[in-house]
Amino acid sequence: MSHSLHRYGSIEDLENDYCIYARCAKGVNRNNPGEKLRRILEIYQTEDFVNFGSAHAGKCYLDGLDPKQYAKRLDRAYGMIVSFSKKSSAENILRKLKDENIGISIVVSGLIDEIRDIAKKCGLKLHTATLSLGIYGNTSLLPKKNTLKITTMCGHSLIGNRLVESIIEKVRTEKITIEDAALILAKPCVCGIFNTVRCSKLICKQL
């Protein structure tokens, strides 16, 4: 990842958009993490998640990744990500992870002030931040800003501007629903950090 770091949008656009990532560290706790990751996956599923996945799984929940089948493959994994569209869900997950003291590094992406608030409520001492300083270089090559808000929800840049614009046009011409559009756009993002709830809101604003 820097995956979920560079999600583009206004503060209002970025509210209620959380990715929680569990990641084992090479040379520290990456050998045989299966049981721990399975427990984390169970915890993830105790709340109303939007999506989850990981690169090694090859697809995300919204593209058909079955949690039970996925759990069986976690012995060879070293990380997984879940996305939420409610602050309360993110808070509950972090509290449960803290209480269980599993020992795998946990990273949360979202608005800094919201994460601070959650951490305070859960009694977490924030350790390290990766801040986004924005996009540099030849920015004339970028798609329009409304499109970027959606494409940047895939941190590996697997969702192209043409797909976004084409799918939104299909919504405009009433060939598909907003929810179907968000689902189509979520599928290329194998890590499962594409938040379809946020995407639906963004599409709504563009119609």
């Binding site: 690169a55 800094i112 390290t128 540099y136 290329p188």
Partner: protein, 241 residues
Amino acid sequence: MRINPDKCIGCEKCIIYCPLNCIVKEDKKCKIDEDECVDCGVCKRANICPTDAIFMPRECFDYPRAVRMQFSDPCAYHPSMKSFGRGTEEAKTNDVTGKFKKGEYGLLLEFGRPCVGVRLSEIEKVTVAMRTKGLPILEENPLFGLLEEDDSGHFKKEYVNEKLLSAILETRFKEDELETIIRTILPLLDNLSTVVSVGLVTRFANDGSLPIIKKLEDLNMNIRVRPNAKINVGLGRPLID
């Protein structure tokens, strides 16, 4: 990636899926510009081709071309790093590795992202400048393995023209080097023919604040720290505080 012309019926369904817009229709068939293609696999995984004409040719697995897939397809494996994705842990595990300590910052330069892609020749403009100025390039990163061993900052020549969807270059420096590093590196990005998403790694102060934000503002370089971030919440064990 390639489209088998004997199977392609020219339906164009694949065209919109390419993140870099390198599928075109010619002579009633869809065709991938293989020099521009980064082998990310999105068009194949989308499973939208009615005749299953899209495939990854054998030569995409051979070096130097293989690095395209390794950096661009998160489902592919970086053999040098034994990991998927862009191959670096960045600060995700900093609570147990101590990669970025108190008093240090990290700068993460994500070339090609979003939506543009990047040739290694473009990244090389930055790596050469960094080496010339004596700035460190972190080794725990698959880009490092593509560099010549002579500390020139050049990539091994067989890789220079390879194109990637994105790649992360990392550096680490002391707090008091912030201004020098920022004033040296950010201007280097201005003349690139790609985009660079820039990230900065910092430890939280004991009171939970992020003093770096004020320090960046004080540089008067119009650096706007975005309101969203990626935060390691310190649940890894054993904890390195």
